[in-house]
């Protein structure tokens, strides 16, 4: 058994101690901080689970498409099913904080951008967070790139307004948004109000004539039809393309024939090969479901619908949206809070108004990151991952090379664009949505898989080209 250095154990306890201290001191200031602490401690759990399960969509699809190893993809699919099961419980009671997203082709396009970006960057949105907790400098650069790209993208107007279809502009102008939002100036504003908001929000339960907050709707509609069936199709596809041939080869070598039973055993072997990711997925699922319960309970307890009201009551009314709200999903999310802290910083430093767009000004606000509930979740997620990495002796500071830093920035850029087009990343756009019976989650997932495939193919081409160049130079020198 590997001996864990004492300093690792001490640092792990220091990190936990810091979060304990923040929780106790903030609670001493006011009871309302329990709301932010809920985000903090669930974020901490997510970080521990992600690090333990190596829960990274980029690594998963890169392994699958580049070297034909399906272990992590399978683990993620299993994790999605496990999370969906706990979500079904929450949905059946009617206490879920989840809201389905508009469903249309935009989710596929967004997923495509995101998938390309995550392969370039070498980490998805959640993967980059947990890898940052492991001391990975490249992952930190990816987070910075995603954050800056999003903050600028949601506010960009001027020449980009010329790229907006007239129908979007007219539709956006009719939405009755306040003049402070200036909805006809800004590409994303007109995309959201003029196109995305016009798309239907669906769930499998409602599509089948059931109610989500009923046992039949939650378990049969959303869980079985909305998650188990598509996830099984995905697993069968992975088995057929990447695993089947090995099963056939082994069976032919040992018995000279292949039976249905061999395929069943092969399929089961594939499913159980990713225990670590699946175990992490199970705990992620339980934590995600529990967070929805806790946040909804706290909302009832404090008589609010959004953390913005609590922040205002505490006297922090700076950066609240025009509706008095802040980003407060009530469940696991990654990218929106990353955009917020950059939006807040740029708003403060440059004096440019970042509140005249829908994303910040109407929906999420740009509260001080120190009082932003979702930011507490992300910081704690990094902390949770660091603790887990330290206790497994997997923590190591890694300085980015110039080449990796460049890919991190390019990848982060694509992920930032994809996140805002799809209203979420691999977590908020796919994992949480798909698990809650929202078809837009699967559409984002399809795009993401396609994007990952394109990204891997491009990367292979790039690497081969680079190696050929280097070899040619070497030959010349010799």
């Amino acid at each position: 058994m590997q001996e864990i250095p004492r300093k690792n154990k001490v640092w792990a306890l220091i990190i936990v101690g810091f979060f304990v201290l923040v929780s106790l001191v903030s609670y001493g200031f006011h009871e309302y901080y329990v709301y932010l602490q809920a985000y903090l401690w669930f974020g901490f759990i997510y970080g521990m689970c992600l690090q333990y399960g190596r829960f990274c969509f980029a690594s998963a699809f890169r392994d699958l498409f580049a070297v034909g190893v399906p272990r992590m993809v399978v683990g993620i699919v299993i994790a999605t099913m496990l999370f969906a099961f706990t979500s079904a419980f929450v949905n059946a009671t009617g206490w879920s904080t989840f809201h389905p997203a508009p469903t249309s082709i935009h989710a596929v396009i967004a997923g495509l951008f995101f998938g390309i970006g995550m392969v370039f960057a070498g980490g998805c949105a959640s993967g980059s967070l947990y890898k940052t907790g492991e001391g990975n400098g490249v992952a930190l650069m990816v987070i910075l790139s995603i954050s800056v790209t999003q903050a600028i993208f949601v506010d960009i107007g001027g020449w980009f307004n010329k790229l907006v279809p007239e129908s979007w502009r007219l539709s956006a102008a009719q939405k009755g948004l306040p003049p402070s939002i200036n909805v006809t100036d800004g590409w994303v504003d007109q995309y959201l109000a003029g196109y995305v908001w016009n798309q239907p929000t669906l769930r499998f339960a409602e599509m089948l004539g059931m109610k989500t907050d009923s046992i039949a709707g939650a378990f049969l509609g959303n869980f079985f039809v909305g998650v188990v069936l598509p996830a099984t199709v995905l697993l069968i596809w992975v088995y057929s393309v990447w695993v089947r041939k090995n099963v056939v080869k082994r069976a032919m070598e040992s018995k000279g024939t292949v039976t249905f039973s061999d395929h069943l055993n092969g399929f089961w072997g594939m499913v159980t090969s990713s225990k670590r990711t699946a175990i992490a997925g199970l705990f992620l699922g339980i934590a995600c479901g529990l967070q929805m319960f806790v946040i909804e309970g706290l909302r009832m307890k404090f008589g609010v619908k959004n953390a913005g009201t609590l922040l205002a009551r505490l006297g922090f009314d700076y950066g609240l949206s025009a509706k008095g709200t802040v980003f407060d999903p009530g469940y696991w999310y990654v990218t929106t809070q990353e955009a917020q802290w950059v939006g807040w910083t740029l708003h403060k430093l440059t004096g440019i108004n970042f509140m005249d767009n829908i994303f910040f000004g109407w929906v999420n606000g740009i509260p001080n990151p120190a009082f932003n509930p979702a930011d507490w979740m992300s910081v704690a997620l990094i902390g949770g991952s660091a603790v887990m990495a330290l206790l497994q002796n997997e923590f190591k500071f890694k300085k980015p090379t110039r080449e990796l830093a460049t890919w991190a920035i390019i990848g982060g850029f694509f992920m930032g664009i994809g996140s805002r087009l799809g209203l979420g990343c691999n977590v908020g756009g796919f994992f949480v949505r798909a698990a809650n019976g929202d078809p837009s989650g699967w559409l984002f997932g399809i795009g993401m898989i396609g994007g990952a495939f394109v990204g891997v193919k491009f990367f292979n081409w790039w690497t081969e080209r680079k190696m050929a160049k280097e070899m040619a130079e070497l030959e010349f020198e010799l």
Partner: protein, 65 residues
């Protein structure tokens, strides 16, 4: 894996989660589990706007970080 330290961390995390569940469960008990009334329990959008306006007026709407 440093097992003792890992379990110390787990106990601390479980303690805080338990504390927050203790906060969250009583409101559910009052309203009743499984009745799907969550949406009706919060403050309405209109009330929220009024509340916010009132806070803005009281605080003058300035930065108060």
């Amino acid at each position: 894996m440093a097992k003792i330290h890992f379990w110390i961390v787990v106990i601390i995390v479980a303690g805080f989660i338990g504390f927050m569940i203790g906060y969250a469960v009583p409101p559910f008990m009052e309203v009743g589990f499984g009745k799907g009334q969550a949406v009706q329990q919060g403050v309405s959008e209109e009330e929220l706007m009024k509340q916010y306006q009132q806070i803005l007026e009281e605080g003058g709407g300035g930065e108060s970080e």
